[in-house]
């Protein structure tokens, strides 16, 4: 903040020790008030957010951490005795948790990678002088408006094993149908398709915005140097939108680790365990189901949550390391 930001007609001095403005002695009450306003109001503005964040963000996290060290009687209203790290041990040793981990990673890879690639290509195509541009741009966002539950219901009937549209089409062209719910890889693909349906358009628009900020002279210069459309895309477009791409990748990663609605509504198992053989149970589904189980429901779910937090932190750090590498290469 510079001096010129101070209200006109007021004299403020910067104390050399702290660097913050200190009211010189002998100011009037109004001047002091104005000074305090200037100094403390910003904090007051942000207090509501942090107060809310403490209540609905930090407190549940801390409490679930606390809870993860206790037992919990079924239908009890409060926790039982302390059990140390037993709940963590239970979750880490649970083969279902291991399956859920790999399912989540698998669905994430199958959704995030095609999503970003397709979004980039579609955005590049929308960035050309099309007839009815706005109409095309709006229509890519349309799937995003569809409620996830509605999308999951539609895809649920498309991917029904015996009578679904997907298998009808496959059979019509002479192929055998795919066991969408019982084959692990097929179920990941089906769920990833739902995710991609919803999120590709959203990412397209973000990338499109970045594309439009690229100076057109760069393309002209490239064209003069003899670069074709494809070369322009790889040597001008992609390097220019790198920060936006990273944003898209990071949000897709977080979304991928939290995936719940799609596999839950895709589920044909009456226990909602993500397929009869846990083929597509994700980590968040694991937490949800654990909180419904008979023994120590909440503490075990809390332990699982904290393990997932650690996993996400690990992935975030990995993301950060890769990002820095990519940025550095870009700067050269």
């Amino acid at each position: 903040m510079t001096r010129t930001d101070a209200p006109a007609g007021e004299v403020l001095e910067t104390s050399p020790a702290t660097g913050s403005p200190v009211p010189p002695p002998g100011l009037t009450w109004r001047q002091k008030l104005s000074h305090w306003d200037f100094r403390f109001s910003p904090y007051l503005y942000v207090v509501p957010f942090f107060a809310l964040f403490l209540v609905i963000g930090v407190y549940p996290m801390v409490y679930s951490g606390y809870l993860s060290f206790f037992s919990w009687p079924r239908y009890g209203l409060t926790h039982g005795e302390g059990v140390g790290f037993a709940n963590y041990g239970h979750v880490l040793a649970d083969p279902v948790f291991h399956k859920a981990f790999w399912n989540t990673i698998g669905i994430f890879v199958l959704s995030a990678v095609p999503q970003v690639v397709v979004a980039t290509v579609v955005a590049a195509m929308l960035d050309t002088p099309l007839r009815g541009r706005t109409w095309w741009r709006m229509s890519v966002l349309l799937p995003f408006v569809v409620a996830p539950a509605a999308a999951a219901l539609i895809f649920g009937s498309i991917f029904a094993d015996k009578t679904g549209l997907a298998n009808e089409v496959l059979r019509a062209v002479g192929l055998s149908g795919v066991a969408w719910h019982s084959d692990r890889f097929a179920s990941w693909t089906a769920i990833a398709t739902m995710v991609n349906y919803r999120w590709t358009g959203y990412n397209t628009l973000i990338i499109l915005a970045a594309l439009q900020a690229i100076p057109r002279q760069l393309y002209e210069a490239a064209a003069i140097d003899g670069a074709g459309r494809v070369q322009q895309f790889f040597h001008v477009t992609l390097p220019s939108i790198r920060p936006t791409m990273l944003f898209v990748i990071i949000t897709a990663t977080i979304g991928g680790m939290q995936i719940f609605t799609e596999p839950r509504l895709f589920d044909t198992n009456l226990q909602f365990q993500g397929g009869a053989n846990y083929q597509y149970q994700t980590l968040t589904m694991y937490v949800f189901n654990t909180s419904n189980s008979g023994t120590d429901p909440y503490p075990r779910a809390a332990a699982a949550t904290w393990i997932i937090v650690l996993i996400i932190i690990g992935i975030a750090l990995l993301n950060y390391a890769i990002t820095r590498q990519v940025q550095r290469r870009g700067e050269r």
């Binding site: 209540v55 009890g76 649970d94 029904a160 198992n269 365990q273």
Partner: protein, 427 residues
């Protein structure tokens, strides 16, 4: 600008008050205060599937003399509602004044600790209102009444007479009873039909046949002292039979899901175990299909599938009114109305008697005498079979899932191993 300081402070104050208010609301008051309801106040109830209450509640709300009005939430299926119910009970908050509970899950809500979450709705004047075993199954060991029985699930067999005819099987209601005499005759006829009609399977799903056989077992999952025991001969017989016929007689679909529903209209199967409440499911899944009929027989005698309860959670602030309304809903006239609306066979003795006297028939099922059939089937039920311990519903879910794995192509041995592991994980 300076003049706005006070306003700004007021805004911050308001925001903080809002936060404080929210926190207080989250805490809630643990003692549910009982307030009586006025004419315009609303009593809430949650049911699942179709309890046949729509018209009854409409009627109640239209009546100017009713003491309060009622609002019903209908959940499509029991399984998700079971999860919600369990969670809200554990949270001690967020349930309606009356909740519907499926019969198989009743034992777990009666167990120690869980039953504290419900109000005691015992009323000595109602002692002889319901069939004895149904009434007692809604009671804890020390006599606290948790639920009023809404219906019972005596099972008959529904079948497609048109498909039977096509396959050269007898299709007349009286003649087919021989087919549904024993499990052996039942499966033998199935092999005949599937040989004649390769596109059609014998029953609707492996799960429903497993359920039917389980309902005749004595101690399928737990012994009388609630020790979990799944390695017993009774359960192994069910397992071997159902998984053995998985590839030949079963369409290998999961009950209540898309593929199962589709089979009703594309001749996907020819028979299904049929408690009264299944009637409305068949009608809504296959409104156009002609040929459905009901046999007054069940392999190996009888069986009771389902039958639900109305319970009042302790967290309800209107327990007295809730009990009053639950009592009204389970009285003879209302259980009769529910039978007419949804086929739910009453657990109410008086309603059962008047159904038998009335000799009701159902045109959809080729004028089958539904009242007589269900009364006969109810008489064939052996009370107390199967024994349902506190983990019955949980293990049943895992068992059905194990069968689903075999239907999906897993080897029975492998699936059984996963099942026993999951059962071990319950404790």
């Amino acid at each position: 600008m300076r003049h706005s300081t006070t306003r700004r402070k007021a805004a911050v104050g308001a925001a903080l008050a809002l936060v404080a208010g929210t926190t207080a609301a989250c805490g809630g008051d643990s003692e549910a205060s009982q307030a009586s309801l006025g004419k315009d106040d609303v009593l809430t109830i949650t049911t699942f599937s179709d309890f046949g209450y729509d018209a009854l509640i409409e009627e109640w709300n239209a009546d100017p003399d009713r003491p309060f009005s009622v609002e019903m939430t209908k959940i499509a299926d029991w399984d998700p509602w079971k999860q919600t119910l369990t969670q809200k009970l554990q949270a001690g908050d967020g349930l309606t004044d009356i909740v519907a509970v499926e019969g198989d899950a009743m034992p777990q809500f009666l167990s120690e600790g869980a039953s504290d979450q419900f109000a005691d709705i015992s009323d000595p004047s109602l002692d002889d209102r319901w069939v004895e075993y149904a009434y007692q199954a809604g009671q804890t060991a020390d006599g606290k009444q948790v639920g009023y029985p809404t219906d019972a699930g005596p099972e008959a067999f529904c079948y497609r007479a048109d498909l039977f005819e096509k396959a050269g099987l007898p299709s007349d209601r009286e003649e087919v009873e021989a087919i549904f005499e024993t499990w052996d005759s039942y499966f033998a006829a199935g092999e005949e039909l599937t040989a004649a009609l390769p596109e059609t399977k014998w029953y609707d799903s492996s799960g429903s046949i497993a359920q039917a056989m389980l309902n005749q077992a004595e101690f399928p999952f737990q012994t009388a002292d609630n020790t979990i025991d799944v390695e017993n001969a009774e359960l192994e017989l069910v397992w071997d039979t159902v998984t053995g016929y998985s590839t030949t007689l079963s369409p290998r679909v999961v009950q209540w899901k898309e593929d199962w529903t589709a089979n009703f209209t594309n001749d996907g199967f020819a028979t299904m175990p049929c408690p009264g409440w299944m009637f409305s499911n068949i009608k809504s899944n296959a409104p156009e299909v002609k040929g459905w009929d009901i046999a007054n027989a069940f392999p190996g005698g009888g069986g009771n599938w389902g039958g639900s309860y109305l319970a009042v959670p302790a967290m309800s602030e209107h327990q007295e009114e809730a009990q009053e309304f639950a009592s009204w809903l389970t009285d003879a006239d209302q259980e009769l109305a529910a039978f007419e609306a949804a086929g739910n066979y009453p657990a109410n003795v008086e309603a059962q008697e008047s159904l038998a006297a009335e000799n009701a028939t159902d045109p959809y099922f080729n004028d089958a005498p539904t009242a007589v059939i269900l009364a006969d089937r109810a008489a064939a039920v052996e009370p107390g079979r199967p024994y349902k311990g506190d983990m019955y519903s949980d293990i049943l879910g895992l068992f059905q899932t194990a069968i689903q794995r075999v239907d999906e192509g897993a080897s029975p041995d492998e699936s059984w191993e996963t099942f026993t592991q999951a059962v071990d994980g319950l404790s």
